[in-house]
């Protein structure tokens, strides 16, 4: 064969090899790799029928780079606990007072009687100006307090660590506890796979406890007797999904529940009997997939959501 032809073939071969190497290297770049064939997607559940969204966001208060822990509403004021302060705001977002706390708080409740702040294993009572009145007796190492509610002369605390509800007198005396209904095939006591365990007392004086491992709302007497419950497991907007939802809960003046979920973060309103009433904020209103915003409700029905990702209080009101 002609020497020129051989050289041409060799040059062509070399060019092909170089081209293949270049293509391979280019395709090996992380941004050039194919999409994840094992993608875990819940996108289909993130879209919400716009007619269900009956609230609009009307105001935001931002807090910079703080570690926020919880929020409560009482006496026309917002009580916010962060690491390691209690901060009191007006409903317009004006800071009224700031008091140091001895350690990192986990939850807060407020009423006209005072402010109750839950730390990991004890509660402390503050007056409405944020001054410490009394620190209550600690409850032991495995206690993890996640939610507080007050009603008249009682303070109820949700202990996720020991899966129980504690009943205190407002002077700090422990008046009892209960671990949920267990003697029925479909009830198993409180199932708390992670530290999300909520309770609230509504305007009719009913104690409602979220059983997050069952996606259930359980209504108890103040002595721990189960009066009724409803549950709804679904990834669709009508129900709750994951191991521990709803992760946050508050009650509206008419007795319906405002719920916030983790995983697929969304805020909804359910009737006291469980049916979905409306959507306050769909998943697209939030960043991240982990933290459910803590919730507080005003007597007029405005919803205050403490967005842990954006570090702000977001105010939602019924659309006019």
């Amino acid at each position: 064969m002609n020497r020129k032809v051989i050289i041409s073939i060799l040059i062509l071969l070399a060019a092909v090899i170089v081209a293949l190497v270049v293509i391979d290297v280019m395709n090996s770049r992380p941004d050039k790799r194919p999409d994840n064939p094992y993608e875990y997607s819940v996108d289909q559940f993130k879209s919400v029928d716009s007619t269900l969204i009956k609230y609009e966001e009307t105001l935001d208060f931002t807090f910079g780079d703080l570690v926020l822990r919880g929020i409560a509403f009482a006496n026309d004021r917002l009580y916010l606990v962060e690491d390691n302060f209690l901060v009191i705001f007006s409903t317009e977002g004006k800071k009224l007072a700031k008091s140091p706390l001895p350690e990192s708080p986990s939850c807060v409740a407020a009423s006209s009687n005072g402010i109750y702040i839950g730390f990991t294993n004890h509660i402390a009572q503050y007056n409405l100006d944020g001054l410490l009145i009394k620190s209550w007796e600690p409850l032991g190492d495995s206690t993890v307090l996640t939610s507080l509610a007050t009603q008249d002369c009682f303070v109820f605390a949700a202990d996720a660590g020991k899966r129980r509800v504690l009943k205190y007198m407002t002077n700090g005396e422990l008046a009892g506890s209960f671990t949920g209904k267990r003697d029925s095939a479909d009830l198993h006591g409180f199932i708390i796979p992670s530290p999300y365990f909520e309770l609230a007392v509504n305007s009719f004086g009913e104690l409602w406890v979220v059983n997050p491992g069952q996606h259930a709302f359980e209504n108890y007497t103040f002595d721990g007797e189960l009066r009724g419950f409803w549950e709804k497991t679904a990834m669709t907007i009508e129900g709750f999904s994951g191991c521990c939802n709803p992760a946050q809960m508050a009650v509206l003046p008419d007795g319906s529940f405002v719920t916030a979920e983790k995983g697929m973060v969304r805020i909804k309103v359910h009737k006291a009997s469980g049916e979905l009433l409306s959507v306050v904020a769909p998943p697209e209103a939030f960043e991240g997939e982990t933290h459910a915003p803590d919730l507080a409700v005003s007597p007029s029905g405005d919803i205050y959501a403490l967005d842990f990702e954006r570090k702000m209080i977001r105010v939602f009101q019924l659309k006019k």
């Binding site: 090996s28 992380p30 790799r33 994840n36 064939p37 094992y38 993608e39 875990y40 997607s41 819940v42 559940f45 780079d65 703080l66 570690v67 690491d83 198993h188 199932i191 708390i192 796979p193 992670s194 491992g213 069952q214 996606h215 497991t233 679904a234 990834m235 669709t236 999904s241 994951g242 191991c243 521990c244 983790k262 995983g263 697929m264 997939e289 982990t290």
Partner: protein
């Protein structure tokens, strides 16, 4: 100083500097790892469950496996790492399961608790269950490189493609970064 001397001295200096650097780095490595041996491992707090551990490992079946931090898990009936999203029934039927290879098994303990285990002969490290567990559960399922399977390549091919730089060499004394024992480094926040 003439030019020849200058070049000679410069050469000696560079050689000496190189030797000092080499000695220093060896001493540093000895300090970090008593045995001086390093292995590849995944930081579970950096991992974003991109799926590349399943597709980029040089092994036919990836050396990356899902592991379960038993101390963190509530073992519940609603495991988001076990079930497909919005599955109709919470049973062990194949049509309910999230894992593409059926590697995640669960065993009934007592109502409503289950124990979840991973069949490593089937697990391909795709992290689908890890994503489900982290999003809707408590994050007890996570990925680790199994050193009985890993070839400890000079350059880990998964590490090269990892979008979150979650894979790095760690001293062999701490070859596994299991959640629970291994905690996310604390980030200080300004007040």
């Amino acid at each position: 100083m003439d030019r020849k001397k200058f070049i000679n001295n410069s050469g000696r200096l560079v050689l000496l500097g190189g030797l000092a650097y080499l000695t220093g780095s060896i001493i540093y490595q000895r300090k970090v790892s008593a045995s001086g041996k390093y292995v590849w491992q995944i930081d579970p707090f950096k991992c974003t469950q991109c799926g590349r551990c399943a597709t980029e490992c040089v092994k036919d079946l990836s050396a990356v496996k899902c592991v379960h931090a038993y101390s963190l898990c509530g073992y519940c009936d609603l495991c988001g790492g076990y079930f497909k999203p919005n599955t109709h029934k919470l049973n062990t039927g194949a049509e309910s399961q999230l894992c593409p290879t059926g590697a995640l098994n669960r065993k009934f303990v007592e109502e409503p608790f289950f124990e979840y285990t991973i069949d490593e002969k089937l697990c391909n490290g795709c992290a689908k269950c890890v994503k489900g567990c982290g999003s809707f559960g408590n994050g007890s399922l996570h990925l680790q490189i199994r050193h009985d399977l890993c070839q400890n390549c000079n350059e880990c091919s998964i590490s090269r493609m990892c979008p979150s730089n979650a894979i790095s060499r760690v001293p062999i004394e701490t070859a596994y970064l299991i959640k629970g024992d291994f905690k996310k480094p604390a980030v200080s926040t300004p007040k």
